[in-house]
Symmetry: C2
């Protein structure tokens, strides 16, 4: 591997001069510049970022720690991050924890050892985890989920508004008895979404039945299981269901259909997050769109800004606004009810 020393010899200049032309960090006469560039060309020189990093104490690298790359919610986020990273000459080290806490911890250590300039963490909900991160004294921003009370360097979406919008939509269509099937209640996003559901129900003068509230995971299987449970336990079924994610909605719809219920004719279902596939799901899913690409993009921009501004960086949070997407899974109008009013 050729080094600056090799170049300096061949171009008959000092190493400092080579460095100056490579980095354009100070003026070098055209003559020497040429000789250096020629040598670089001939020897196929490529600067060693490791050595540079050691000297400069910065790596132009950021770590991204994700909870689950298989969840279709995240690839667009990653792409948003990657796009802005490369535009700013940063690389991203991707770490997928598969929701494994010990893996999360060892990734944190690893990132610290690799001296990344900053960290983006998608899906930190546990205050303990936040402590672990803060201990390391490095730039970071949280994305999507966040621990209770955390208000700095965060980009997420307005989950409360998302579910409120879903309920509003149901209300507009005349649905009244609405169930809620959510994810893990400990996650910030779950809490916010449930809050939004409650808020929406109240606002629309609708009654919330505790027997129609279900919790589980943000997965299709969990949605399926919750729906089965509902079908078994509930005497008078709801006429509509708010699922707190599209994946959950998929599972719910699958369960309903397997039990002979038609969507939306018998029970309407709304998703949330606008999964890539929800438009072509068994029944095209009405849902709430989340600007995920934007979330990744803004998260990385926030991080890089924090890195470049250093101590005098002013932390902030960005909350993106979700929007209604109407398809077919709740388009069955309850004419009688609407007329009756």
């Amino acid at each position: 591997m050729t080094t600056m020393k090799d170049i300096s010899k061949r171009a008959k200049v000092s190493i400092a001069t080579v460095s100056a032309v490579v980095n354009q960090s100070s003026f070098v006469s055209p003559e020497l510049t040429n000789r250096v560039n020629k040598a670089i060309e001939e020897l196929n020189y490529r600067p060693n970022a490791i050595a540079r990093s050691l000297k400069k104490k910065s790596t132009n690298t950021v770590g991204v720690i994700l909870s689950d790359i298989l969840n279709p919610y995240y690839p667009a986020i990653v792409k948003g991050m990657d796009d802005v990273a490369i535009k700013n000459n940063f690389s991203v080290i991707l770490c997928n924890t598969s929701n494994d806490q010990s893996r999360f911890l060892s990734y944190l250590d690893l990132m610290e050892e690799k001296r990344v300039d900053g960290l983006i963490l998608a899906n930190i909900s546990d205050p303990e985890d936040l402590l672990e991160i803060e201990k390391r004294k490095l730039n970071f921003v949280l994305v999507n989920r966040r621990p209770p009370g955390y208000n700095t360097s965060y980009v997420g979406i307005n989950n409360e508004l998302a579910l409120e919008t879903a309920v509003d939509h149901f209300a507009t269509l005349g649905y009244e008895r609405i169930a809620y099937i959510g994810g893990n209640s400990e996650l910030s996003t779950s809490k916010e979404r449930l809050n939004g559901f409650v808020k929406g129900m109240r606002k629309n003068g609708l009654q919330i039945s505790n027997s129609l509230k279900f919790e589980g995971e943000y997965t299709q299987d969990s949605g399926y299981a919750s729906a089965i449970k509902m079908l078994k336990e509930v005497k008078v079924l709801p006429d509509a269901i708010c699922a707190s994610s599209d994946l959950i909605a998929f599972g719910v719809i699958k369960a309903l259909r397997e039990h002979g219920m038609r969507v939306p004719e018998d029970i309407a279902v709304m998703g949330n997050d606008n999964n890539y596939f929800s438009e072509e799901f068994l029944v095209p899913l009405s849902t709430i769109n989340h600007p995920t690409y934007e979330m990744g993009k803004l998260g990385m921009e926030m991080l890089l800004q924090g890195i470049s501004e250093g101590a005098n960086h002013n932390p902030k949070q960005i909350i993106l606004t979700p929007s209604l997407v109407v398809r077919e899974s709740c388009n069955f109008i309850h004419r009688e009810k609407v007329i009756a009013k």
Copy 2:
């Protein structure tokens, strides 16, 4: 940031001793070991991987260059890679080119500058690109696609067999007039799949009509466009369609339905690759399963093996076997035809 020097002072030992206990690289008396560990604890020392890399001329980091992380084919591959990387104490720098050649090139430069120990490239088809990679003289393995004639350090799947299997399935069900809707014909996977289709048709004594062969991209939009084209141009429609990917099949089915054709009653459709969502697509898609997680896992294992074995590494290729998944998109039996035989 505390360094070995700080530790050595506090523990009143030499730097070499600190290094020895941190890396367990040579015997140190229990007494000194204790002092060192205590100092490490107290000062919250974390080794600097950058400095270590500079010295050792290896980074324990590999680059992964992907053509499109938004395509649902890839997340599982990435997960497979990441899982084996972390198990072997390697980090992965993820690079998503979004199918942009200039971005690919600049990522290659970047990876070289960052001195990654190796590179995995998902989706190199162009011999020129391969040349670019080989120029850099670093360990690499190709995954999924490959340029013509490339037979070293590769893991992919048997694409020919995949399409052959699809045709066999159609033939078994009594379908005879079978169309093919493929991806970009320059990609290795496309060629292999088309070959498999042709082979399967011949083997089953079925006639291939050139007017029933379409090319495009590996996207839903492209599948949609090809199907529209077929609907317009072809006088006598096929009774079945082989799509070369599930995404294409999705587009095809969408187009057919929009034009009043039922799947599978009017036209049957087979996909290929077993997308995460194909089971719950508008019509549950019969397809060919690809072991993508395995592909990523084996790709990374191959790379790490190549890195550790160095010059005396014996390059090889691994071709994984796809398998039939029967669902509903081609389950309409042509009784008359079958009986007629």
